[in-house]
């Protein structure tokens, strides 16, 4: 546990001493702010139109601005992650291999699992730090909007984001452990994310069994439920096993470096 924490601390130091964290988090937040603003003004305009229409027809408006905005916002956050996560994970192992520091870690009394978990939790923390400021938008709606945004959508959405992001991080770190070159790692990761995204895209509304399997495998599909405020056990199980599977593969991959010529 102490060794795991040592790795965790080192990784956190690496993220926040080097410009990585600031660039990634900064760009991410700029985009988030822009899109939140866009969705909010769109939703407000749409709701005003709906109100005018319903007034003409003499009916009460049923347009729920906060839920609409939060749902759209959570959806676009997931899309950003496909672009930002490779930047976080690309160097996690490839940099260590390139610099030769992997040799230090692997000749120290510390297991591969401790190395992998320490690095995974550090990147998850960085990701959480990235998400925290976006909660201020939600808070803003909390105080200013009528009706208040539904808590279950907010809570479900952030839990979903954390699991979805965790899955991407686990996959990205595994790919980073395969190469010494961070750029190749980034490209591989981005390609893998796009593929996962395309799987969802191509298989939605599937009817045949193979299509449904593909649809089930897709990482994004399981995220949709969370943004509706539904915490589905199968989605939870899916993400947790997805993360565990790639952490396991990363441990094997790090271990296999001992057998490769480096």
């Amino acid at each position: 546990m102490r060794s795991l924490y040592a790795i965790y601390r080192k990784e956190m130091g690496h993220y926040f001493v080097s410009p990585i964290a600031y660039v990634v988090v900064g760009l991410f937040l700029i985009l988030c702010g822009f899109f939140f603003n866009l969705y909010l003004s769109d939703a407000i305009r749409a709701s005003m139109e709906a109100q005018m229409q319903s007034a003409q027809m003499g009916m009460a408006s049923s347009f729920d601005v906060p839920s609409e905005v939060i749902r759209a916002f959570l959806g676009v956050l997931a899309l950003f992650l496909l672009f930002f996560m490779p930047m976080i994970t690309m160097g996690v192992y490839s940099d260590e291999r390139r610099r030769g520091t992997m040799e230090l870690l692997m000749t120290s009394p510390i297991t591969e699992t401790q190395i992998v978990l320490g690095k995974f939790f550090a990147s998850l923390t960085l990701y959480a730090v990235m998400l925290v400021p976006t909660a201020s938008y939600i808070l803003f709606m909390w105080f200013k909007s009528e009706p208040m945004p539904p808590l279950r959508i907010v809570a479900g959405g952030y839990l979903g984001l954390l699991l979805f992001g965790g899955a991407l991080l686990a996959l990205g770190q595994f790919l980073s452990s395969l190469t010494e070159n961070p750029i190749i790692a980034a490209i591989l990761t981005f390609a893998a994310f796009l593929l996962l995204w395309a799987l969802d895209f191509g298989s939605s509304g599937a009817s045949s069994t193979p299509e449904q399997i593909v649809h089930y495998v897709s990482v994004i599909n399981h995220y949709q439920g969370f943004t509706q405020g539904v915490i589905d056990t199968s989605a939870l199980v899916y993400y947790v096993s997805f993360i565990a599977f790639f952490i396991f593969l990363t441990v094997r991959s790090v271990d296999s470096m001992r057998w490769r010529r480096a």
Binding site: R2, S3, Y5, A6, I7, R9, K10, G13, H14, V17, S18, R99, G100, T101, M102, E103, L104, L105, M106, T107, S108, P109, I110, T111, R258, W259, R261
Partner: protein
């Protein structure tokens, strides 16, 4: 302290280390000498538990490097070929991190860091980021990393590479100072380094051990008694016959005459028998002009070349 038995490492079809065996006693400094690509780094990586051997066993402090890898890793400090440093860390933070992953308890860490910084002369750089340090300083940070947790066994892969002459002397003194309480293996392709710092030398070439001995013994043994070089103006054949008749001369090699008509010959004799006076007497007796007569002594450099080049195969390995 360290026992290596019949260790082989192959990468696919190439064999980097071929059935090597040697032992290192507690408190000893063992020098690993060989040309680049001889298998020094591979051997060290096997000893540190970085990579497993294809066959054979190696034990450090009584633990098998493969089966009890974590135990072995608790007992060693290792400086790989390239210092394994994180450029974004300060020297102090880096050593702190190394102590953490070596499981050194928190209360002991500050003293260990101070000690390692003092030993490697890095005191004034402790707060600098490693990326701002020069090559030599980085190498010293790597060295500090290998000794900071006070391990029983220290394995150093070319510790003096990239250092200036003054730093090299400092590092050699540091290594000598560590001996006794620590068992040290260091690799190098620089010969004087071995004769200056090591108690014993393993000469390795193409994955095989060519010789294991003290630097002094290697020098005297391989001197093979005595070799004498003679340069005379004489017919080759007659010179060969004359020199062969001298009692005590075991091996005579005559090289063809040069453009000046001088013939050079080397005569080997058993240890303790000086045949120089007899050679001089015989040559003068024949009336041939004698241009040169001197004893050849082999330096460690010659031994190394003899052992590691193919055409000098007559120098047999001696264990």
């Amino acid at each position: 302290m360290i026992e290596v038995q019949d260790v082989t490492k192959s990468y696919g079809t190439t064999t980097a280390v071929d059935h090597i065996s040697f032992t290192v006693n507690k408190g000893e400094i063992l020098g690993f000498l060989g040309p680049n690509g001889a298998g020094k780094t591979t051997t060290m990586r096997i000893l540190t538990g970085y990579m497993p051997a294809t066959s054979g066993t190696a034990r450090v402090s009584g633990f098998d490097v493969f089966k009890d890898s974590l135990q072995v890793r608790r007992h060693i400090g290792y400086l790989p070929e390239a210092p394994p440093v994180y450029p974004d860390m300060s020297v102090e933070a880096y050593l702190e991190f190394v102590l953490r992953i070596k499981n050194v308890p928190g209360e002991k860490r500050p003293a260990r860091i101070d000690d390692a910084l003092a030993k490697t002369n890095l005191g004034d750089k402790r707060r600098e980021l490693i990326k701002h340090l020069s090559r030599g300083y980085k190498q010293r940070v790597g060295l500090a990393q290998a000794v900071v947790h006070d391990p029983d066994v220290i394995i150093l892969d070319e510790p003096t590479v990239g250092l200036d002459p003054k730093q090299i002397i400092e590092v050699r003194n540091l290594i000598k100072g560590l001996a006794g309480s620590h068992t040290i293996i260091l690799s190098t392709h620089i010969l004087p380094e071995v004769s200056m710092t090591c108690d014993r030398v393993v000469i390795i070439n193409k994955g095989k051990i060519a010789a294991v001995d003290t630097p002094q013994n290697l020098t005297s043994q391989l001197r093979g008694g005595q070799r004498i070089r003679v340069e005379v103006q004489a017919p080759e054949k007659q010179l060969q016959d004359l020199l062969s008749q001298i009692p005590g001369a075991s091996r005579v090699q005559v090289s063809p005459a040069g453009s000046d008509g001088h013939v050079a010959a080397t005569v080997e004799s058993a240890q303790g028998q000086d045949v120089r006076s007899q050679i001089a007497a015989k040559v003068v007796e024949k009336g041939w002009p004698l241009y040169e007569l001197r004893g050849l002594s082999l330096s460690l450099e010659d031994i190394f070349l003899q052992l590691t080049t193919d055409d000098a195969a007559h120098a047999q390995p001696s264990n």
